[in-house]
């Protein structure tokens, strides 16, 4: 019971992070119909920006945790969204109007490029940061097992909930959100109404990168270590989350993220921690085989 509660907390934390990254996949897919395989690496880059920023702040003698967090979030979001913009501008936009496969291959190339760039400039070794947010609450004790909720977990869940609420509001209520949805439904028509479609696509990439950046900062605070390869695994899991929830659906991405996080946590606790990735990828295969439109997605209808 206590273990289950602990894994619920851990799973929700992990799921929140996957959900944040998954939104980037799902938004980009929704608007231009491609899987941005470099998105996981955008997240990885944001984690490195966070590490650098934390290190610089520590060197500058800033000890206030909330201040440090706010500054690092701001810096990481700023730089990472520029990365998101640049990736779209250089690797995908020139290929618009070519075959569906071309941007996909370009995305894989971009992913390899980002990994290698970080490996070369930052080194291949795991980079640690001094603990930023230590401590937590012991909320429950049974059979000699204490259920622990750390401050960093609280931070992750609270920030994610706030961000997703804000995001949902923006997409459903604001003028930009409307234009974004219009592009998803009929890009040509949106252009005919006087909207600069390329700008909306750029902003979509930047927003996806923004959420990934927040995820990167949160994970850095949570685990305290990063390496150039974290984007690959986290990216594929978030992609699985997006597919599970229904690619193109934003609530689906959040739901999928939480489910993948929970499945992973419970699988690791009760079955085998070594095979938790197998569980995730089995889900990906099963969903693709039996319910390709995911839990909340619309079935793909061929336009004729």
């Amino acid at each position: 019971m206590a273990l289950a509660l602990q894994q619920l907390i851990n799973g929700l934390t992990l799921g929140a992070v996957y959900g944040l990254i998954a939104i980037g996949y799902t938004m980009v897919y929704g608007i231009i119909g491609m899987i941005n395989f470099a998105h996981g690496d955008i997240y990885m880059v944001s984690a490195f920006i966070a590490v650098t920023a934390f290190t610089l702040l520590a060197a500058a003698g800033i000890t206030s945790v909330p201040l440090a967090l706010a500054v690092v979030l701001f810096v990481s979001v700023l730089f990472t969204s520029v990365y998101g913009w640049a990736v779209e501008r250089t690797a995908y936009r020139p290929l618009r109007g070519s075959t569906r496969l071309a941007p996909l291959i370009s995305a894989i190339g971009m992913s390899i490029f980002l990994q290698n760039m970080v490996q070369l400039t930052q080194g291949a070794r795991v980079k640690p940061i001094p603990p930023v947010l230590v401590g937590g609450f012991d909320i429950f004790e049974a059979d000699g097992f204490t259920v622990h909720l750390s401050y960093s977990q609280v931070l992750i869940i609270v920030v994610t909930v706030l961000l997703m609420s804000g995001f949902t509001w923006m997409i459903s209520r604001t003028s930009f959100g409307r234009q974004q949805r219009a592009c998803e439904q009929d890009m040509t028509m949106t252009g005919l109404l006087g909207i600069h479609v390329d700008r909306i696509i750029s902003l979509t990439f930047m927003l996806g990168a923004t959420l990934a950046a927040v995820a990167g900062v949160l994970v850095t605070v949570y685990y305290g270590v990063v390496d150039f390869y974290i984007g690959f695994v986290a990216g594929i899991k978030a992609f699985t989350a997006a597919v599970l929830g229904g690619i193109g659906s934003m609530p689906g991405a959040m739901l999928g993220g939480v489910l993948i996080g929970l499945i992973e946590a419970f699988w690791a606790a009760y079955l085998s921690p070594e095979y938790k990735d197998v569980a995730t990828f089995s889900i990906l295969i099963l969903v693709l085989m039996f319910r390709p439109s995911g839990l909340l997605g619309r079935p793909e209808v061929e336009k004729v």
Partner: protein, 244 residues
Amino acid sequence: MMLELSGVHAHYGAISALRSIDLSVQVGEVVTLIGANGAGKSTLMMSLFGKPRASAGRIVFDGEDITGLPAHEVARRGIALVPEGRRIFPRMTVMENLQMGAVLADPLNFEADLKRMFALFPILDERRQQRAGTLSGGEQQMLAIARALMARPKLLLLDEPSLGLAPLMIRRIFQVIRELNRDHGMTVLLVEQNAHHALRVAHRGYVLQHGRIVLSGSGRELLASAEVRAAYLEGGQPAGRRAE
């Protein structure tokens, strides 16, 4: 002169879709473009927005050369299109569709323009919170027209607004076109297969065949022309339309 095309050519790959098109629309006019399926009518409309881009010739709108401008820039200069197949945003509400149409307009005009649209098409008022994809064909057509008008365009392009609609609805749509032109001075370029209705509402018309303009004249002249009658009004009329 509101719109003037001179010597416009356009291609889809190697296939020539428009050949040496000369066409003009004066301020306050309703001009119609009739022709059979595949004659290039929709291509001509879309070529104004650079889709496909004119490979030769010039398109001048309101004194400015707009040849080769991207679609959103053309729209910003005051051309609104009600496209073939309506292309309303199906997963948005009626209201959201109208807001999308008003992106280019001054937000201060929004409420007043909305009121005008609901006066023109009362059914849209009743359905304002309904998803546009659930509307009937005729209602979607009204929404598409209202969405275009929300931008307060100088030139309204209508691409086959009567396609697939019930006779009563077709009459209503043409009545609206006439009202817009007569009471609000709206300049209209209308593409139609329904030559009979189109020529009666239009001041002037052009006949397009295989991407070429083969005939032009006033609506009345074209209605009376033997060629037009043979090709688009009698023999050439698809089954089902004759009864109107």
